[in-house]
């Protein structure tokens, strides 16, 4: 009933509800929140007792793998979609409240929210995301497909009659799309992303070193020495893990060539998806893409030499967008503005 009134005291926000990180873009403000999509839940009185949110975001991520028995740190998003509805709702509620901390506090925030969803998400998954945001206090919820938001955020000329190819490598999924005239001509989503790289590194280390490392360590290895293409420069990192044979922590050194070997499988999956997309693209748009190249966005675009790998594999120019991590959230925010300026029909939204 008081939605419109509460809306005066709320922002219009765009949320990139990612598997690894959640980013919130506030209209007129920019990116105001970039936190891991992790929630720590405390259960005080043992099994069956009520659960409480212990921490959300970076604080909760620091707890991953380090929690006592009564606290569980979980990631409510998996493969780009909701794995735990209630926890996702609580997490969104927390983030929305955090974004509105400097706003008038008489009313509970009731923003208009645009959420970016993987193009491969099913109707059930989309509805779950929509209801989760509504449950978190959103006054209106719009959904836009991630590749479209990524293309807008990267500044691609999506309204022109020429093809633009965008490859958004996220934490849980990789989205590929060919866009022309404000519409998606081709899109595909593969459930390969940064998490799969981490899992590959964990299994490589266990297989070759007989040592167990955690997700956080695997992510650190990927960020520091991970590479997608062979290079003359070899980087090394010293890590610690539990030796499976001895059962005690041991330290050892990994190099970038080993990590390249470890992540070959998910990289091949991404390359295959790109090839398939190029095969499926209409020839005129394919020519435009061959002329200009494809654009990489998402956290996966920060993996060293991934553009070089795609260039060599496809023979096309490949460029990494400015600030690829925030492209989707920024694009979503820009989509909200475009929707207000030109109406909701400018591109397909739900």
């Amino acid at each position: 009933m008081f939605g419109p009134l509460r809306g005066i005291f709320s922002y219009d926000i765009s949320i990139d509800l990612g598997t690894a990180n959640t980013l919130i873009y506030v209209r007129g403000e920019g990116i105001v929140l970039n936190e891991p999509s992790v929630v720590a839940i405390r259960q005080e009185m043992g099994p069956g007792s009520p659960k409480r949110i212990a921490a959300v975001g970076a604080e909760a991520k620091a707890m991953l793998g380090r929690t006592p028995g009564n606290i569980v740190a979980i990631r409510p998003m998996k493969d780009g979609v909701i794995a735990d509805f209630t926890v996702t709702e609580k997490m969104l509620q927390h983030f929305i409240r955090k974004v509105h901390e400097d706003k008038f506090k008489l009313f509970k925030p009731s923003p208009r929210v645009l959420i970016c969803v993987p193009c491969g998400a099913t109707q059930v998954e989309r509805r779950a995301i929509k209801e989760s945001a509504a449950g978190a206090g959103a006054r209106q919820v719009f959904l836009v497909e991630e590749p479209m938001a990524a293309a807008i955020g990267a500044g691609l000329p999506i309204s022109e009659a020429s093809g633009s190819m965008v490859l958004d490598i996220g934490g849980g999924t990789t989205e590929i799309a060919v866009i022309s005239l404000n519409g998606i001509v081709y899109s595909n989503s593969v459930r390969i992303g940064g998490d799969r790289f981490d899992e590959s590194i964990i299994s490589y280390v266990r297989r070759n070193y007989g040592t167990l490392i955690g997700e956080t360590t695997a992510e650190r290895i990927k960020q520091e020495i991970g590479s997608a293409f062979p290079s003359s420069e070899i980087r090394e990192i010293e890590v610690r893990g539990r030796n499976l044979a001895e059962g005690i922590p041991r330290s050892f050194t990994l190099n970038s060539a080993e990590i390249l070997e470890a992540i070959q499988e998910p990289l091949s999956g991404i390359v295959s998806a790109v090839r398939t997309a190029l095969e499926q693209t209409p020839p005129e748009l394919g020519a435009d893409i061959a002329e200009r190249g494809m654009v990489l966005t998402g956290g996966g675009a920060l993996l060293r030499d991934i553009d070089r790998l795609l260039m060599e594999e496809t023979g096309l120019p490949v460029i990494v967008a400015d600030d690829p991590l925030t492209c989707v959230a920024r694009g979503g925010g820009r989509a909200l503005e475009m929707m207000d300026e030109h109406g909701g029909e400018i591109f397909a939204m739900e």
Binding site: G28, G155, G293
Partner: protein, 356 residues
Amino acid sequence: MSEASTDAGSFPQGAGARLREARMAKGLSPDDIAAQLYLRVTLIHDIENENLERLPPPPFITGYLRNYARLVGVPCEQVVYACEANSSGGGSMPTLANVSSDEEMGGRRTPVKALTAFIVLVLMVLVSVWWLGQEKPAELTPEMLSAQNAVGTPPRGAADSNTRITPPVTPKPPVVAPAPVVPKPPVGENPAGLNSGVPGEASENPDAPVEEGSGAEPALPTTEGPAEEPPVEVDPPTSGEGAASAPAAAPKPSSGETTVVVPKSLRAGEAQAELRLEMAEDCWTEVRDDAGRALYFNVAKAGSRLTLKGTAPFKLLLGNAAGSKVYLNGSAFDYSGRGVVRLTVGKASDNKVPQP
């Protein structure tokens, strides 16, 4: 941006020329670069010559510059910034889509938001005040009524049917009226008076007694002009429309006083019935004619007499029925009851007028 301008200063010859120098230093040809970046050779020349208008949109230019710079070992961001700085000076390069900058996205508008919030707050307060001001008193106490009577104004909302007015019902000891003026009986062929709600009589007896104390006067023929206007001792107040049914604001009767009220609208000879009230005790009195006009709306003091003229039937509300008597066209109207009584006097079905 200051960093950008500093970096631009490190490439005084321009980003394209810097890239060309670095390429030549590495012994590479434009063809080598084009082959490694999977770009056309003409694009490489355009980049080196900074013919940016011939290049694809800005995000692609930025990407090409980065890739080129990385290939020849020049700091990528410096090249990009230098190119941006040169293009903004020359105006040849389209603005790069840096949507994260405050300038592009509107920046913070805290003062505007604060002002908006303040205005909304003020509006809310005003609406609240107005809302509270709209609320009516649930009941009027006798003290309030007497205070209103003292200034001669009818109680607020008298015409508002939603307002419930509690008349003063507490009987007071009867006040001995000093020589009340006894009305003379109506003179005429028809002692029953004017149209007392009895069909047929009015047309047969157009003459009717008008009022007590002033002697018998000819009745008002319904079609006569102002010359035959009934005498009026007390004019009903005409102070504004707020008095809804102006006759309601009758002058405050004092003990023993005779008051005659004729609605203005009836002066043209419409008066058809006479209602007389004699008060032995103070009594809240409300009289309405057939049209719903309030003929009297006040506390009638003990010993006072009211003569009201209007169209029958009359609707009466007497707060102290035991202390008052009602006469219709000179005949006593029989009713029973104490305290608050509602009466309809002069109804067609109520024709059996009791004898005085």
